[in-house]
């Protein structure tokens, strides 16, 4: 019997009709080319409809409701958590905590696990490529607890200097927190190896999966990460919801961070007993409908298959490198396409990235420009800002091709013949 391991190629044209916004014009006669997916992705009808249906037919607050709507909302909310659990192969649903996004997940770990476990002189190892959301909470923790921050340095082509781990990972290292994919360079980091080496010195590992979970298969048990955080809005879901996964024994031992309703077992006037997982970390009314929308986004991605998504994004990234490489004056940050996800950041000689983005917008092309919440990374490469094109399953090669003429147009605006 003939078998093939290759995933059939993804045809974005089959999926684009699911995304109403993709058929709009930016301005009259100018169709939208949405290449700002690393910031936030668009929503298919299936996700939008799941939330509309909840509001129109089932909505009530979750937890302990006796009436019919409360039970229906509870069921939908819990079903979303089960989808998340399967999606990242978590051992139990209780280990998948709904947060408000990646940032809030990191802050929960820093405040709860960090304050309880970090002692003066302990070291927290980060990388020079981190998003501010994976720098600032640890800076705040280090300030509170007298800990020391260390950073894995980068190669000139945007990869982690793995040999530096020999000296950076020591018995003093209590936590390694890193992104699995860089939101600027697109670099796919060797998370498995870092987890293994961190565990060998007794350190825990938090993986910021915001840029990888939407694009490549994540298996928290195979990865053996101690914590994984990600956001709904970068994977076809709504903003305002994210996920914190943690190993059971860690989550069980951690004190609650936010106090309030839902996170308790019982409350007396002067004290409380915390509730069980996952409620312990879900104080207050959670992002109910957003979580349900995230569940629908997972269904959508499951139907297509993340392998096909990743394969398609590699094609787009290779094409982007080719197209940008043909524009004189363009410099791409980060490694060659085989080492990166669907994120291509670049500079254009003598034109500031904001002006690049402004001119691309005239062609309907949405890219992000600036420091992408990674100021230390930009400093490392000696640039104040970059323009970033980032892709998802609905982008086409033709859309990527449009970057070329649009950048040539930017050059014509700025590189005028001097009078």
């Amino acid at each position: 019997m003939l078998t093939t391991v290759d995933t059939p190629p993804l045809d974005p044209l089959l999926h684009r009709p699911d995304f109403p916004i993709l058929s709009r014009e930016v301005r009259s006669g100018v169709p939208l080319v949405y290449l700002d997916n690393a910031a936030s992705t668009q929503h298919p009808r299936q996700v939008i409809q799941s939330m509309v249906a909840c509001y129109e037919e089932h909505y009530a607050n979750v937890h302990r409701g006796i009436h019919q709507l409360a039970q229906e909302s509870d069921d939908l909310y819990n079903a979303a958590r089960e989808k998340v659990c399967r999606f990242i192969n978590a051992p139990t649903v209780e280990q998948c905590i709904f947060t408000y996004g990646t940032t809030s997940g990191i802050n929960v770990v820093a405040r709860s696990w960090g304050d309880a476990n970090i002692e003066p002189g302990d070291e927290i190892l980060l990388t020079e490529m981190e998003h501010h959301s994976n720098l600032v909470p640890w800076q705040q923790l280090a300030e509170r607890r007298g800990a020391v921050l260390r950073h894995i340095p980068l190669t000139d082509d945007g990869r982690l200097r793995m040999e530096s781990l020999d000296s950076l990972l020591t018995p003093r290292t209590k936590l390694v927190a890193l992104m699995s994919v860089s939101n600027v360079l697109g670099t796919i980091n060797p998370v498995d190896e870092i987890v293994r080496r961190a565990h060998a010195v007794g350190a825990l590992v938090l993986v910021d999966g915001a840029q990888s979970v939407p694009h490549q298969k994540t298996d928290v048990q195979a990865m053996d990460a101690d914590f994984l955080v990600f956001s709904g809005h970068k994977m076809l879901g709504p903003s305002g919801v994210g996920v914190l996964y943690g190993k059971r024994e860690l989550l069980d031992a951690m004190p609650p961070f936010l106090g309030g309703g839902s996170m308790i077992r019982r409350v007396m006037l002067d004290t409380f007993e915390p509730g069980e997982l996952p409620s312990k970390f879900e104080a207050g009314t959670p992002p109910i409908v957003s979580a349900i929308g995230l569940g629908a986004a997972i269904d959508y991605l499951d139907r297509i298959g993340l392998e096909a998504v990743g394969q398609h994004e590699r094609l787009l990234t290779e094409r982007a490198h080719k197209v940008l490489g043909e524009v004189e004056g363009v410099h791409i940050l980060g490694p060659e396409p085989q080492h990166k996800a669907g994120i291509v950041s670049f500079t254009l000689d003598r034109i500031h990235s904001h002006d690049v983005a402004e001119v691309l917008d005239r062609s309907g092309i949405a890219v992000r420009a600036g420091h992408h919440c990674a100021m230390p990374l930009h400093k490392r490469y000696g640039v104040s800002a970059t323009a970033r094109a980032s892709f998802y399953l609905y982008n086409t090669l033709e859309e990527v091709d449009r970057l070329g003429p649009a950048l040539e147009a930017a050059k014509r605006v700025f590189h005028r013949k001097r009078k």
Binding site: I351, H354, D355, V359, G370, H371, M375, S384, F414
Partner: protein, 142 residues
């Protein structure tokens, strides 16, 4: 090409961007201020020589950033070079946007208003230890 006011990258804006007025440092600096736009990283620094009668004898700027922020800096420096600091104080943000000329979205108005903000602060920011020697002044300003 769209109507002139709608066109962001008009000739006179690009002229200021590519060939700025007084980008550099004054021979003698009495006042200086620098600020940035943390959202986008635009930086503008203003260095002034203000005499006893409150006249801006010299106005220079330096910086790094998008076309809007740098062209706007050149425009405001050109406008107030040799003028009284009282004129600077009276110059409103709306007048700065008018001086710039092109219609700007709210996000990019921030780029345009950065040099205006820096100049407004610079006139209140005396530089300590300004000597008569130009190189000393340069050091004091940075």
């Amino acid at each position: 090409m769209a109507r002139d006011e709608e066109e962001l990258y008009q000739e006179h804006i690009l002229d200021h961007y590519e060939d700025p007025y007084h980008r550099g440092h004054p021979t003698h600096c009495t006042h200086a201020h620098q600020d940035d736009n943390p959202l986008c990283g635009d930086v503008v620094r203003m260095e002034l020589q203000i005499d006893d009668r409150g006249t801006l004898r010299e106005v220079f700027f330096d910086g790094d950033g998008c076309c809007i922020s740098q062209a706007a800096a050149s425009m405001i420096v050109e406008k107030f070079d040799g003028r009284a600091i009282e004129d600077v104080k009276k110059f409103t943000a709306n007048e700065m946007l008018e001086l710039f000329g092109a219609r700007l979205t709210p996000n990019r108005q921030k780029c345009c208003l950065l040099p205006w903000r820096v100049l407004q602060s610079a006139i209140y920011s005396p530089v300590e230890g300004t000597g008569s020697d130009a190189s000393d002044a340069g050091k004091a300003c940075r």
